[in-house]
Symmetry: C2
Subunit: 290 residues, 2 copies
Amino acid sequence: MEVIRGVRVLQARADAERAAGRRVALVPTMGALHAGHLSLVELARQRADRVWLSIFVNPAQFDDPLDLARYPRVMDDDLEACRKAGVDLVFAPPAQEMYPEGADTCVEVTALAAPLCGGSRPGHFRGVTTVVAKLLSAARPQLAVFGEKDFQQLAVIRRMARDLLLDVEILGAPIVREPDGLALSSRNRNLDPEARKQARVLVAALDAAEALVAAGERDSGRLLARVREEIGQAPRALLDYAELRDPEDLGEAPARLQAPTLLALAVHMEPGPDGGERVRLIDNRVLRPG
Amino acid sequence: MEVIRGVRVLQARADAERAAGRRVALVPTMGALHAGHLSLVELARQRADRVWLSIFVNPAQFDDPLDLARYPRVMDDDLEACRKAGVDLVFAPPAQEMYPEGADTCVEVTALAAPLCGGSRPGHFRGVTTVVAKLLSAARPQLAVFGEKDFQQLAVIRRMARDLLLDVEILGAPIVREPDGLALSSRNRNLDPEARKQARVLVAALDAAEALVAAGERDSGRLLARVREEIGQAPRALLDYAELRDPEDLGEAPARLQAPTLLALAVHMEPGPDGGERVRLIDNRVLRPG
């Protein structure tokens, strides 16, 4: 497995792969790899001749400097996990490769990036689209794979790639969960044991809404009330948002659900009486009435 | 000479040229081609195996809908000029190819795009960088050539290409002038005869400033006063801006010139008593104190 730090070297590799007629899939990550990332690698392998994975903790997408400082960084473990998973190439650039001195350019998706996490985390998606545009320029893959846990991120990146005429397929991969249902996230490492236990409330809320829809409930207000009630069961969970949205354009869902509808949740797990960190978790599910 | 209207077809051509080891130079234009554009084609030919020219009047970079409506469109003449100049391929996309329905993404350079034309034409450079990013995605050239008449545009595009890690060289080409010194511009076609005559005042102002510098003048205030005085000779010329700037980062020049300094001018040629159109013209020169 090759580890590359420089953009020019990577671009030369990309040209060589294209010239040889090989299809490259890129899995962009911020490291702290878990089984969710490895499922993206697996999907990439099924769809391409080469799997490249990037590890870059992108400062521009953090609205909160503390969150950036606490974001887990475990490069040696990550490289070992990539080797075991059969990744062909890891791109792990230093910050100055991605943001050269005097960097002054951003890539921004407007409407799709405004609600949900875009509302809670100002500038977050601008940072995401800017760095993903750069990673796609650097690696020039035919395919890039992102997890559906970050549902809005996937929609925003898809829109960006389409709008900028990037010649790349953007593929979403299903959420991978712990045995108790918690969606895998690098941030889960920052949960203390009690917060980890209570974090199950996110998937419990999604399950509850799904069960109501299966039982015939179509009223969005009652569905969201049920979600809030469920989140309220966990004293350490502070709801950031719970919203029903059109899965395509992320527009607000109608008062009565008719078509498949995204239920998106974000929760802050608050520090306990003995301290601990505030950790923001997200999860989502597409509800399918009738 | 091939004429292509679709992005996917162009991308397939680009892949084929790369696979064959041929170097492509792109000359992005908004059409209404003149000898200035043809000098870009000539420069492109010297530096690449294939010369591609794009013709797209980009709505997103017009801050003034009237200016967009009046922008000259002469596709048949343009194609004939390209044939004669030995252009290999013309990319002339309809608007929906460049801005698919629901397009929601922009590429923006911040600091470099703020002064000069960025101040006079809000959103102009965001439109330019967005469309140039798309054209570079669509054509994937090794080289793209832009005229130095749009000095700030060239600087902004260079910064964007560097920041987004685009694997393309951005080349500037010297200003081409009419026999009386007026810089060639597609907008010159919209000047009535009297405005055309008075438009010579732009190059006269640049000449006057250059002569003062050659004579030892270093005071930026006196240089700009001389420029304004010269512009004032033309009753139909309304000064938009006259500024001295660092040619690299477009920062404000010091009160006393020491290093090479950009003198950038923008003027509105006003309608005459018998009507006519308001036409905005720009010009520039790098002044080189001893």
